[in-house]
């Protein structure tokens, strides 16, 4: 791995999780306030995360299996905020359907 590849890959991996965090926070805030704008911002974060995953897969010197792992975990990140939210709603309001 070249030094340029090292820095760009590490930064991309950090951005990958950060964008996932932004997606989670904005998704939660959007649901709380019933705000379409916040929800869109959340999906924008997720799109950024997906773009970062694509960049890692195409440009980084990582082993192919790790690239596959990044792609798979990007899909998993997409489900975590909605599933967590649904679980929280079910726990806090068990009778509401």
């Amino acid at each position: 791995m070249t030094h340029a590849g090292l820095i760009s890959t590490a930064v991309l991996l950090g951005l990958f999780v950060l964008a996932g965090g932004g997606y989670g926070i904005l998704y939660g805030a959007g649901m709380l306030r019933a705000s379409v704008r916040l929800e869109r911002a959340a999906y924008l974060c997720y799109a950024t995360q997906a773009a970062v995953a694509v960049a890692v897969c195409l440009s980084s010197p990582l082993n192919p299996l790790w690239k596959l792992f990044i792609a798979a975990s990007c899909i998993a990140y997409g489900f975590i905020p909605p599933l967590t939210w649904r679980l929280l709603e079910a726990m806090h309001h068990p009778t509401v359907r």
Binding site: M1, L6, G28, T84
Partner: protein, 465 residues
């Protein structure tokens, strides 16, 4: 107030005091990087570093123990069994910590013999306390485990949080025994030593702070037991599911078989996923309570814990956890940056949140607010962010110039250490370390003062006319 809760106050006071010792030792450690000849042959870098890291472990441990002694009698509605022994051992614990610290400062090191191991320094990183003190820590922890289990037994009552706590205390205690073996093969030694360090920090402590946060949320926000316990079970399952084999990321370069590259990389890369769920939960809790609480300092520190844990452990960890990156980043200031951020987010903020919660209940204050807590909150967090930013720049410089370009030679180490990016990063760490220390000083002032001032109603004017 139960005697156990009075003991909790002592533990929390000792924890905050050691937090200060850790901060001072950390500042001193940062100074050596910009002034390498400082205190040369009087008090060298390695001793300041030992003090910094060992007090970190002890202040958090004391904070956890104190928090359990606070919540336990409330949970079970009775005094803690064996409280007298616990009270005595608290003073023994404090005296032992003080003696060990004095030995580290005054004696510092000895020869490679049994005497040094028993009375000066055990020689194992992060658990350097001499053997007699390590035995003492085992006694304290065993007493603590006895207090918790015997109280639950005597009360004939068991809750979900207590089950998780008691089950967690077993590996927490057993793993500390890993501090004792004298293994001469370095690979074998590191293999088992990581069981202690990793499994405490990324498994048993995570579960312990999860239990403490469950109790905190019940008291701070009135969240129902059913909700916190359900969430605790999910969190424990996910944290242990990813954290236990995440141990493998410490096995990359210590002479273990190659399969650890895959196992360690895979499971540690999964570790941010449960943290993302926790962040969504924090947003939910903050939103449903509309940021309204009678204890804002504690509430904000709980939020800081959720976000700090995600960014420090999740983002910073993921940047450097895959083996191909870790080959260059391990053992550099990059790792130090991740360690600072993750410890602060996962544990430091949590103990401070509990301290504020306990103080409000002790002082009987309904509205618990001040200007000082906001200053300390801002300065501590800005100071920490600045430190981890500076360390990150310095660490990436090392990874590039010393490792990727220089091939990890001694010459490359010197070149990287003289690089201006490295030096700027270390200066930034020092400056922001001072900001952090200021935040700590204000935190101590606030903890002593908050909630003590009682609003005095104006005396009614008596008309003389």
């Amino acid at each position: 107030m139960y005697r156990s809760q009075k003991l909790a106050l002592r533990y929390l006071a000792a924890a905050i005091t050691l937090f200060g010792v850790m901060t001072v030792a950390g500042l001193l450690s940062a100074l050596y990087y910009v002034e390498p000849s400082l205190l040369y042959n009087v008090f060298d870098f390695q001793m300041a570093k030992i003090l910094h890291i060992d007090t970190l472990v002890i202040w958090l441990l004391m904070g956890f123990i104190g928090a359990v002694y606070w919540f336990l009698p409330k949970e079970l509605g009775r005094e803690v069994v064996g409280i007298r022994l616990a009270e005595v051992l608290f003073f023994v614990f404090c005296a032992a910590v003080a003696v060990v610290a004095v030995v580290f400062v005054v004696v510092q090191y000895g020869g490679s013999n049994q005497f040094s191991m028993w009375f000066i320094n055990q020689g194992r990183k992060y658990v350097e306390a001499p053997r007699w003190a390590a035995v003492g820590i085992v006694v304290v922890v065993l007493t603590f485990v006895y207090n918790v289990t015997a109280t639950a037994w005597r009360a004939r009552k068991m809750t979900g949080i207590l089950w998780v706590l008691i089950l967690d205390l077993v590996p927490l205690t057993v793993l500390y025994l890993d501090a004792f073996p004298q293994i001469t093969n370095m690979s074998h030694d590191l293999y088992w030593w990581w069981w202690l360090v990793h499994m405490w920090v990324e498994a048993t402590w995570e579960v312990l702070i999860g239990c403490l946060m469950a109790w905190t949320l019940m008291e701070l926000m009135g969240t129902s037991r059913r909700i916190v316990e359900t969430w605790l079970y999910i969190e424990v399952m996910l944290v242990l599911g990813t954290g236990i084999l995440g141990l493998g990321h410490h096995y990359f370069w210590i002479g273990t078989p190659q399969y650890w590259l895959g196992i360690g990389g895979f499971f540690s890369a999964l570790e941010p996923l449960p943290l993302l769920g926790m962040v969504v939960h924090a947003v939910y809790d903050a939103g449903t309570h509309r940021m309204k609480t009678t204890n804002r300092p504690s509430f904000y520190w709980v939020l800081a814990e959720a976000f700090g844990n995600f960014i420090g452990a999740g983002v910073w960890g993921f940047m450097m956890t895959l083996p191909q990156i870790n080959l260059y980043s391990h053992g550099t200031q990059w790792t130090v940056s991740h360690g600072h951020f993750a410890f602060w987010g996962a544990y430091g903020c949590g103990v401070i949140a509990i301290a504020y919660l306990v103080l409000q209940q002790t002082r009987g204050s309904t509205q618990f607010d001040s200007r000082a807590w906001k200053w300390s909150f801002a300065l501590l967090n800005v100071g920490l962010l600045g430190m981890v930013g500076g360390l990150l720049v310095a660490g990436i410089t090392q990874a590039v110039y010393e490792r990727a370009q220089g091939g990890s030679t001694l010459q490359a180490f010197v070149v990287a250490s003289e690089n201006q990016w490295f030096q700027s990063g270390m200066y930034a760490r020092l400056i922001f370390g001072a900001v952090f220390a200021l935040g700590y000083a204000i935190l101590v002032y606030d903890l002593l003062a908050i909630g003590k001032r009682v609003a005095i109603a104006p005396k009614p004017q008596v008309s003389t006319a």
